[in-house]
């Protein structure tokens, strides 16, 4: 956990890619879940933030 937080603070690719991946997965689940339309409404912005973050952080150092 400490390594993960250190990686985030030092702008390392691994932990940031992990955060972006979780956001994308969360956005897709929110888009397709049958439970609450409120989650569906915010799904796109979550996926978009995750995707843009993924593109940016994939240029961070290892």
């Amino acid at each position: 956990m400490t390594n993960f937080i250190n990686g985030l603070l030092r702008l390392r690719r691994g932990p940031w890619e992990m955060v972006a991946s979780v956001l994308i997965a969360l956005g897709v689940i929110m888009l397709m879940q049958p439970v609450a339309i409120g989650l569906y409404s915010y799904s796109f912005i979550v996926t978009l933030v995750g995707t843009v973050m993924f593109i940016i952080v994939s240029h961070f150092p290892e």
């Binding site: 994308i24 956005g27 888009l31 049958p34 915010y42 796109f44 996926t47 993924f54």
Partner: protein, 315 residues
């Protein structure tokens, strides 16, 4: 001594051209070769994408090209993301996507595992199994429409044979509960061979020496399967899931031919709904926003999936 073909070609290059190329660096020559491809890629892929993103912020309708186009900001996105019908369409797509991938991977891998065993006539069986994949989706849709007919369809008779139910008592494409399964079965029938071929390539790439070493260590067949076969075929399996996932997210022709999105909206997948918005209701700006939402979703999913695939390959 005869000259090599490369030397002969160099000699045939006109002097003027040779002089021009001689003055260029290797990098410049490489750019000359790559430039047409880059230009084509920009014209065919990147420009329409940027244009779609731009249109998604307008109320443009392609059937009224002379009407003033109004900038509506995020209103199209807001309407799509608060529309319960589109939400239902997303759920129908998720149901279709999940079950087709699960069934195709399970059946495809099992078939590949069986075909990989050396037996008489396995080439013939491979050809027979691969046959559905070679057909056009429109043909498969038509074909399964006949199979699903309650009165004359073979599918209903097969189900009736095993369950004892009356073949005419249920309609696969007319029932709201059965229609989503009807499209899953047809797609699985058509595309399982594709998954099988990819898995077969993975299984055939595993060297026999690894199994021989496992035999020497007295590993059981069950253990060999879980510790050698599955991990070594996993990158291929993941690749198959990626291809099928992206393809099924865009699934259109087979479902339109089979159910037309019905009954009601139970089999209306996102691509069918998108086509209706764009080319039946002619709401170009709105459908562009819809397309951008789908694009970002597929792009995001594909990005994390490719990352996971690379990690598996590195192991």
């Amino acid at each position: 001594m005869t000259a090599s073909p490369i030397k002969m070609m160099a000699q045939k290059t006109p002097d003027g051209m040779a002089r021009t190329i001689k003055g260029l660096s290797d990098r410049a020559i490489a750019w000359i070769f790559v430039a047409p491809t880059i230009f084509l890629l920009l014209a065919v892929n990147i420009f329409p994408l940027i244009w779609t993103i731009r249109l998604s912020f307008t109320n443009f309708r392609v059937n009224r090209p002379n009407k003033d186009v109004e900038w509506v900001g995020l209103r199209n996105y807001e309407r799509i993301l608060n529309d319960p019908d589109i939400w239902n369409t997303m759920q129908a797509t998720a149901h279709f996507l999940l079950w087709t991938i699960v069934l195709q991977v399970l059946i495809g891998f099992t078939l590949a595992y069986l075909i990989n065993k050396k037996f008489k006539g396995n080439d013939l069986w491979t050809t027979i199994i691969v046959f559905p994949m070679m057909l056009s989706p429109a043909v498969v849709g038509n074909f399964w429409t006949f199979l699903y007919q309650p009165q004359i369809g073979l599918f209903n008779y097969v189900i009736a044979f095993f369950t004892g139910a009356d073949p005419a008592s249920f309609s696969m494409i007319g029932d709201v509960h059965l229609a989503p399964w009807a499209i899953i079965i047809a797609d699985t029938w058509m595309w399982t061979p594709f998954v099988m071929l990819i898995c077969l390539a993975g299984l055939r790439s595993i060297p026999d020496s690894i199994y021989e070493a496992a035999e020497c260590d007295r590993a059981s067949k069950w253990r060999q399967f879980w510790t050698i076969t599955v991990p070594m075929a996993l990158p291929f399996l993941m690749l198959a899931v990626l291809f099928r996932g992206i393809e099924n997210f865009k699934m259109f022709d087979l479902v339109v031919q089979l159910t037309g999105g019905g009954p009601g909206n139970t089999t209306t997948l996102t691509s069918i709904d998108l086509k209706r918005e764009a080319f039946e209701k002619w709401r170009t700006g709105y459908s562009s926003a819809y397309a951008v939402i789908l694009f970002v979703t597929v792009f995001g999913l594909a990005s994390i999936y490719v990352k996971a695939l690379n990690k598996v390959k590195e192991r």
